[in-house]
């Protein structure tokens, strides 16, 4: 319709073409010129207006674009004689969508459809609008209209999908499914079905209503032939039978699948589940967290009688043995693993004994122990053993591997597996003594050397078996560090992995471990480099950036943090924006089952805890970056709508359910989530560090955190307003203080206090008590930054409210101000003094220091700037000279003191940084090297490194291959030590820059005061 008779939107195409060309080649100015000419000729053409809007939007003139768009819409609605073409509408739609006005786009299409009720193209456009708006009911209605009009299967399925969406993602009741079923049934009766995915949807509608029999009947009828991949069909059939309770028939189906795909592990589990009449697998699949499925196989103790159970188990074993005997399947792991699973079921039932299960595992080890997946294969089975039995199994495996005389390659592979499974069976060896750990590490280091020599000819692109050993060594060395507090172990762990990366630079496991260790040392810029080298992008940012985010959020590496946050938010925002269009793709290409999947997936990402945190932290970062200049800060606040949007987020968050989509499996043992780091706590043995984390707990604390943090931008804004108003009140005696600001700030203070676990009164009492009591320090604990922020905002609020004025002070400067100053002083100086100057000490105190300076101190600085700015005579309305009254005099006095105070605190920090940086680099490097190179014969850090070093220095190019020997030639531990140093140095320099800038800002405040 668009270019019927060579017309585009009712305009001859040759007139429009130059505009399209100009837009395509991004010559927007040129395009605008052309469009103006066009508009002169066709002043009432909606299409011409729509084009203009499109161009303006591309030029980022959003307001103009919007008003032109509205004009176009207006013309479309009023001018009846014009034709409603899809080109105009879709152009308008694009612009409205970019301007975030999906509703207006939909209303254009609605209007068009009401005028031309039988135009399918327009109706599809309208449907698409509703898909973008996630208006499932309207989608359904539109699809039904289209279906009625042309009777096509696809429109029916669009309607059915829209119904399913109401049930699963909206608030439609399950009864709607009956409606969908009815529609489908009727259509099938008269027309049949032609698309495989239509059948899938039909089956799912029946399954969702527990009509398994009906579904089975359809599947085995004519329609079943739509599913071209036979196993797909069988899997559905098996599942339906099992859910219908027909276990025997279901088992037969799964058996059939296994006969053709004997390695299909899921089908085997279903098969066994059906034999034992245990449907926990089917149920578990439906409810469990689809993003983090459990590693372990869910099953119940079977309700069968003993005889029945024995019978079924022997059936299963027979079948498994048959599969194993097939020479074609000989190398498949599935049938052998299946044998272990059968033993496990017997064990759970109390029928088998530990020995037979162990034997099955040992058998598996004989056959597949050389594969690097051996350990993860059997991981889920060894859970059943108690610690004593686990040791017994380990001994059996050892006995077996000692007796080996197989090929060297296989032998080596089995040795790797042995070390890996040892970690698993011995619970990461937390119970072993330090010297046992060291012995074990040494063994692994030696084996590692061997395997490098062995695979010297391997293509550098390929991963080398045995690489995991260095990861295990690192894990154990970190554990030794945790136990002994001897930092040499930690340094050694770093060195060992850096060494491994010099041999092959692609081992991501090493990189992740390293980035956490460098972070611990405070060499954050190095940690960041390693993170970058992982090339984490797109969806991986959602699952993997937790490795670096938390450290970066509290670091002074603002540029890097800024790019992290921007990249991530851009990725998410782009995806969330495009997601509906992609869903429409699925509709159009008749892959209906993907429609629901896409919408559910989008909802999941939208509720991602990490995304919400990033959305709050990005503006807070901006506020930190601009806090030394109140004008700039106000610009930032304005662009944030004075923090209003974040208040909304804060209000809503409580009722949302958050998703945690991080891939936590890749985290090192000592920090299983980003909130936890065992190395910062005393060693208390294994029971102390559970690997599993309760999501509920995380959700509660994460929500509280987001709720609190999203108040900050608004509170900063209000504090600034409040501070300037307070001065005006004093200076222009009868000036008015906006009561709204005052009450809103009070309200937010109340909420903030609540989120810290106190009422406003209690919180205030605590702060007022500070000079005398110890209570404050006790209570604030891990929430120090929050409390200091709170005090800053409280002080701003108190500037004129006088509610908190001490009785003996009589109107003079608020008491809170001096308390705030001394709080900042106390905590900053405390940190500065207490921090060991040791190079390798933990970084967490420095982190806290950085946070105090970049948050509460920065916000307080803004309050001061705001007061000062209002005190200063502004250009126009000159203050009457010499009119400074008592109260403003006392305010100026307070400000002067405070500025002085803050300056000296910051100078103190700078002095501390300079001191740390004064030590010559070589001395530091020497110190780090000596921390692990003590050359003691028995025990202590450094052994693993010596093993590696002596092995590799004894070999030459012929033995190691040119590539490896060349890359090791230039490698030295001193370089690594230097890397730690420069990494820390860079972070401290950034911090020092921040402090300098604050100091400069304080100096200029002093000058301003002098002018008063």
């Amino acid at each position: 319709m668009a270019s019927k008779f060579g017309l585009a939107g009712g305009i001859p195409e040759r007139r429009v073409r130059p505009i399209w060309d100009a837009i395509d080649s991004r010559q927007f100015k040129n395009a605008l010129k052309h469009v103006s000419t066009l508009l002169a000729k066709h002043p009432n053409s909606p299409y011409a207006h729509a084009l203009k809007a499109l161009i303006l939007e591309r030029m980022c003139k959003l307001d103009e674009a919007f008003s032109v768009c509205l004009n176009a819409k207006e013309l479309l609605f009023t001018n009846d004689s014009l034709l409603m073409d899809d080109l105009t509408l879709s152009t308008l739609q694009i612009v409205f969508q970019r301007l975030d006005h999906l509703d207006l786009a939909a209303s254009c299409y609605e209007h068009a459809c009401s005028k031309f009720p039988n135009n399918l193209e327009l109706m599809m456009g309208l449907f698409n609008c509703y898909v973008r708006e996630y208006s499932f009911v309207k989608q359904q209605q539109t699809a039904i209209k289209m279906y009625k009009l042309v009777g096509e299967e696809r429109f029916l399925l669009w309607a059915v999908c829209s119904i399913q969406l109401q049930v699963f993602c909206g608030n439609g009741g399950e009864k709607l499914l009956l409606l969908a079923e009815g529609l489908l049934k009727k259509h099938v009766a008269s027309h049949g079905l032609h698309e495989p995915d239509a059948l899938i949807v039909y089956l799912s509608i029946l399954e969702q209503q527990a009509k398994f029999g009906d579904a089975l009947e359809i599947l085995s009828g004519n329609l079943g032939s739509l599913l071209m991949i036979e196993v797909d069909k069988l899997r559905i059939q098996g599942r339906l039978l099992s859910r219908a309770g027909d276990h025997a028939a279901a088992a037969a189906i799964f058996k059939k699948i296994l006969e053709t795909c004997p390695d299909d592990w899921m089908s085997f589990l279903h098969y066994l589940g059906c034999l034992l009449e245990d449907d926990s697998l089917c149920c578990a699949e439906a409810v469990k967290d689809p993003v983090h499925p459990s590693k372990f196989i869910s099953c119940k103790v079977s309700h069968l009688t003993d005889e029945e159970f024995d019978g079924q188990v022997s059936n299963a074993l027979d079948f498994v043995q048959k599969l194993q005997a097939d020479p074609v399947n000989n190398s498949l792991r599935g049938p052998y693993l299946a044998a272990i699973e059968v033993e496990r079921r017997k064990h759970l039932r109390g029928k088998g004994n530990d020995d037979s299960l162990m034997d099955a595992i040992v058998q598996y080890f004989c056959r597949f122990g050389h594969l690097s997946c051996f350990t993860s294969d059997v991981e889920m089975f060894i859970e059943v053993f108690n610690p004593v039995k686990k040791i017994e199994l380990l001994e059996k495996l050892k006995e077996y591997s000692d007796s080996l005389t197989t090929l060297p390659v296989k032998n080596l592979g089995q040795t790797f597996s042995f070390f890996k499974i040892q970690q698993l069976l011995m619970g990461d060896m937390f119970e072993s003594s330090a010297s046992e750990l060291e012995v074990c590490c040494a063994q692994m280091a030696e084996i590692y050397c061997k395997s490098v020599a062995f695979s010297k000819d391997l293509d550098p692109q390929e991963s080398m078996q045995g690489e995991e050993l260095l990861s295990i060594i690192c894990n154990l060395l970190v554990q030794l560090f945790w136990r002994t507090k001897n930092v040499g172990y930690l340094v050694e762990a770093v060195i060992v992995l850096e060494f491994g990366l010099a041999i092959r630079r692609h081992v991501w496991q090493y990189k992740i471990l390293l980035l956490h260790m460098y972070s611990y040392f405070g060499a954050l810029s190095v940690a960041y480099e390693w993170y970058k080298s992982l090339d984490v992008k797109n969806i991986l940012m959602e699952t993997l950036s937790h490795h670096i985010y938390p450290q970066m959020l509290v670091s002074p590496l603002w540029t890097e943090l800024d790019s992290l946050l921007k990249d991530y938010l851009k990725f998410m925002d782009d995806y969330l924006r495009e997601s509906a269009d992609l869903t429409f793709h699925a509709y159009r290409h008749r892959n209906y089952s993907k429609v629901i999947e896409f919408v559910q997936f989008k909802e999941q990402l939208q509720r991602s805890s990490q995304y919400l945190v990033a959305r709050v932290e990005a503006p807070i970062l901006q506020l930190k970056q601009n806090s030394d200049n109140i004008e700039e800060e106000q610009g930032v606040l304005e662009s944030l709508k004075c923090g209003i949007d974040f208040l909304e987020l804060s209000n809503e968050i409580g009722s949302k359910s958050l998703t945690f989509l991080e891939d936590l499996q890749s985290r090192p043992w000592w920090t299983p989530t980003s909130e936890k780091n065992f190395l910062l706590e005393p060693f208390e043995g294994i029971s102390f560090c559970p690997r599993r984390i309760s999501t509920n707990e995380r959700e509660t604390s994460c929500k509280r955190m987001i709720e609190k943090r999203s108040l900050v931008p608004r509170m900063i804004y209000l504090s600034i307003q409040r501070a300037s108003a307070s001065v005006k009140e004093i200076v222009e005696v009868n000036g008015s203080v906006s009561p709204n600001i005052c009450s809103e700030l009070k309200l937010l203070l109340e909420r903030y206090a609540q989120l810290l676990g106190f009422s406003l009164c209690e919180a205030i009492d605590m702060i007022m008590d500070f000079p005398s009591g110890e209570r404050f320090s006790e209570v604030v604990g891990p929430n120090l930054i929050d409390w200091l922020n709170f005090t800053v905002f409280l002080n701003a609020w108190n500037l004129t409210s006088h509610e908190l004025v001490q009785p003996d002070e009589k109107e003079s400067t608020p008491h809170t101000w001096s308390i705030l100053d001394s709080l900042l002083e106390k905590y900053i100086l405390e940190k500065v003094k207490s921090m060991e100057s040791e190079i390798c000490s933990s970084w967490s105190d420095v982190q806290l220091l950085i946070q105090i300076v970049t948050e509460p101190l920065a916000w307080h600085g803004l309050v001061i700037q705001s007061c000062l700015r209002s005190c200063l005579p502004s250009g126009k309305k000159k203050k009457k000279s010499g009119s400074m009254d008592h109260s403003s005099y006392s305010l100026v006095h307070t400000i002067t003191n405070s500025v002085q105070h803050l300056s000296s605190i910051i100078e103190e920090i700078l002095r501390w940084i300079r001191e740390r940086e004064n030590t010559p680099e070589d001395k530091n490097v020497e110190y780090i090297i000596s921390s692990f190179n003590n050359n003691e014969q028995d025990g202590g850090p450094g052994q693993m490194f010596r093993i590696l070093e002596s092995f590799f220095s004894a070999k030459d190019g012929a033995e190691l291959g040119d590539r490896i020997s060349q890359s090791l030639e230039s490698w030295s531990p001193a370089d690594v030590a230097r890397k730690i140093m420069t990494g820390k140095h860079k972070v401290l320099m950034e911090f020092s820059k921040i402090c300098e800038s604050k100091l400069k800002s304080l100096r200029s405040m002093k000058q301003q005061i002098a002018q008063l």
Partner: protein, 174 residues
């Protein structure tokens, strides 16, 4: 030990372990979603015991007339599970669908000229180097366009190697 099933969106949140491999590209969302929305039969994942993702294959079918063909956009297997015929199985699945369901003439793919292990594998699976594409990978590295004829191409004319290398802008599809 391996369950091969259709890839679904949630797998995107679970494949980090596989995608951290330096030769495995992580595309943007609309790329994955377009494949899922258009060619779900060409996107399969292999899941191991303990629900570990072992590897996956992603592809499409496109072209006109005699160049109607299956295309492998990505195939990857986590190091732990390599050399156990998994990639082969995934490739065979895609070839089967191209051959039997979509009746395509051939299957093709691009591989970095430096990715020796993958090239060896494709050769083992019957692919031949059809032509070299100069600076195909971010304008730096050459790509090899490899092909394997399917049953419909009885003469195997789709895989007769080209004599000269081409540049990316000469490619028919992207």
């Amino acid at each position: 030990m391996t369950t091969i099933r259709r890839f679904c969106c949630n797998d995107l949140l679970r494949f980090a372990y596989v995608n951290l491999d330096h030769l495995t590209e992580t595309f943007n969302m609309s790329f994955y979603m377009t494949y899922l929305a258009r060619w779900p039969d060409y996107f399969h994942v292999a899941e191991g015991p303990g629900n570990q993702i072992m590897g996956y294959i992603m592809g499409k079918v496109e072209g006109q007339g005699e160049s109607w063909h299956g295309h492998v956009t990505a195939v990857t297997v986590a190091p732990e599970y390599r050399r156990q015929q998994l990639a082969k199985k995934l490739m065979n699945l895609l070839e089967d669908i191209s051959d039997k369901i979509d009746k395509a003439y051939f299957v093709d793919l691009f591989v970095r000229a430096s990715n020796a292990p993958a090239i060896k594998m494709y050769e083992k699976l019957g692919y031949v180097i059809y032509r070299r594409v100069l600076r195909y990978y971010s304008g730096e590295e050459d790509g090899l366009d490899m092909r394997k004829a399917l049953s419909r191409d009885t003469e195997k004319s789709s895989i007769i190697p080209l004599k000269r290398p081409i540049t990316p802008d000469e490619l028919e599809y992207d």
